[in-house]
């Protein structure tokens, strides 16, 4: 198939940036979206042009490194997958595809389609950890009994790969779904109880510091999340915060 691509090009953080038109010919249905970009980049390099910068790593949907706002949706038109797991068979021959980086004040563009998501790391650093006894008598996590429903919910929350699709798709560029997953996975487990109250307060504060917007419950994050992180986590985050405030 042949495709028209409109891709965001930006030299660096201080460059204004612009959409640039490209033509991708003889694209195979079986290519992943990133492979299609790889082929385009090879052509650009052969021509002596600057290849398009984009983030990627595992290419099997588990690392959270790939991003891209494709045709107006985070990770493209297919629900429940990351861009690396999106295949060209999801597009039609002759289609025009818009490819843009995540747009958020807290995710500055590094180059072209690659954005700096260190803000997520700083949110985790502010409270997304547990205290563990490391003096030699560490308790085996498997020896701590956890109710099955809690274990399941904690696991579901822990499937968040931190890709930032929630921020990218949220009209407020809010990181609340990400934050709620990180707070939930620890709040639901015995290991997370020690820092439970200060964690939610610190992480929320850090999210605001980073310049993310506030949650207005549109629910777009959950729809676009490649891991389907539930909105129930946002309710839990708010409940955790309320409890931390009132106690």
């Amino acid at each position: 198939m042949n495709l028209k691509l409109k891709i965001w090009r930006q030299e660096g953080q201080n460059d204004q940036g612009r959409m640039v038109d490209y033509q991708a010919n003889n694209v195979s249905d079986d290519m992943s979206f990133l492979e299609m970009l790889d082929v385009l980049n090879e052509e650009l390099i052969e021509k002596g042009d600057d290849p398009i910068a984009f983030d990627h790593d595992c290419r099997e949907g588990i690392c959270g490194m790939c991003s891209l706002f494709i045709n107006g949706e985070a990770h493209g038109p297919v629900k429940g997958v990351t861009t690396c797991q999106l295949h060209m068979r999801s597009f039609k021959d002759g289609e025009t595809i818009f490819i843009e980086p995540w747009r958020a004040k807290a995710f500055p563009v590094v180059k072209d389609l690659a954005v700096n998501r260190s803000a997520f790391d700083r949110i985790i650093q502010s409270g997304g950890y547990v205290s563990v006894n490391t003096s030699g008598n560490t308790l085996d996590a498997n020896a701590i009994a956890i109710p099955k429903p809690n274990a399941d919910k904690a696991f579901d929350a822990a499937t968040c790969i931190g890709c930032g699709a929630c921020v990218a798709t949220c009209k407020n560029a809010s990181a609340t779904l990400f934050l709620s997953a990180k707070v939930s996975q620890l709040a639901l487990l015995p290991q997370g109880q020690v820092e439970r109250k200060e964690r939610v307060t610190k992480m929320l504060h850090q999210m605001d510091e980073e310049g993310f917007g506030a949650c207005t419950n549109t629910g777009a994050c959950f729809v676009q999340c490649p891991k389907g992180i539930s909105l129930e986590n946002i309710a839990r985050l708010n409940s955790e915060f309320r409890n931390a405030l009132l106690s």
Binding site: N71, K105, A173
Partner: protein
């Protein structure tokens, strides 16, 4: 936003309950009932406190809302060239600011019509069964809703309220951190019903008055109303 929003939802229910008295078909009975209610609402000290809480809630909700919209817009300085927001969220949830602004404009019009008149102006009075002579708010309402553009404005203004409630009601519960799964579904359903029934019931009142209640002049001419109403002479001038 959630706390003031939910408080304002309860206000809507109270306001609606009072206004439903306008559906009484006999104008004299309706005037007696509605004017007595209006008298109670403007003089009872508890209701007065409640009304100040309501004014405060509206102001706080509006100012907090404006600040929220501005902060959230600032969180994305560079917009997308191509965005398909409708694939992942409903229109109402993305336009609460616009809907809220429309509602605020309506509240200002609405209060200058009835609230301001009731408190500071209005000449015709109505003698209640208990002998008290009160401002005839009923006649004022009938007169207002007999103007077609006015009636239409009130009916149309219920649409943004419906959409605002459609998102706002259930959103408030999530903001307050209620996470029980069954409750979430219940809240969503109640929210949808609330957002349809309440604005519709409000909209029925101007429609009903316009179509089924005689005009203010005709009401004042009726014998039963004459006995209670004053200022007929002034109205006839």
């Amino acid at each position: 936003m959630a706390l003031t929003g939910l408080f304002l939802c309860t206000f809507l229910v109270g306001h609606l309950a009072g206004n439903l008295q306008l559906l009484i078909s006999d104008p004299t009975h309706a005037a007696e009932s509605f004017n007595a209610y209006a008298q109670f609402m403007t003089t009872n000290p508890l209701v007065k406190i409640l009304s100040y809480v309501t004014y405060f809630s509206i102001l706080f909700h509006a100012i907090d809302g404006i600040m929220l919209v501005m902060a959230n817009r600032a969180a994305r300085p560079q917009r997308y060239a191509h965005e398909r927001a409708s694939t992942s969220s409903v229109w109402a949830s993305r336009n609460m600011g616009i809907l809220g602004t429309a509602m605020l404009a309506f509240i200002i019009i609405h209060m200058s019509d009835f609230w301001f008149e009731m408190h500071f102006e209005m000449k015709p009075t109505f003698k209640l069964d208990n002998g008290k002579e009160v401002k005839d708010l009923y006649l004022e309402v009938v007169e207002a809703f007999h103007s077609f553009p006015y009636m239409l404005l009130y009916v149309l203004c219920m649409i943004p309220i419906g959409f605002h409630l459609y998102h706002g009601f259930q959103s408030a519960f999530r903001t307050l951190g209620l996470i029980h799964e069954n409750l979430t579904l219940l809240v969503k359903r109640v929210g949808v019903i609330f957002s349809i029934v309440v604005p519709m019931a409000f909209a029925i009142i101007p429609l009903y008055v316009y179509h089924f209640i005689p005009s203010a002049e005709e009401i004042q001419k009726s014998e039963s109303y004459k006995a209670k109403s004053t200022l007929i002479e002034v109205e006839n001038d």
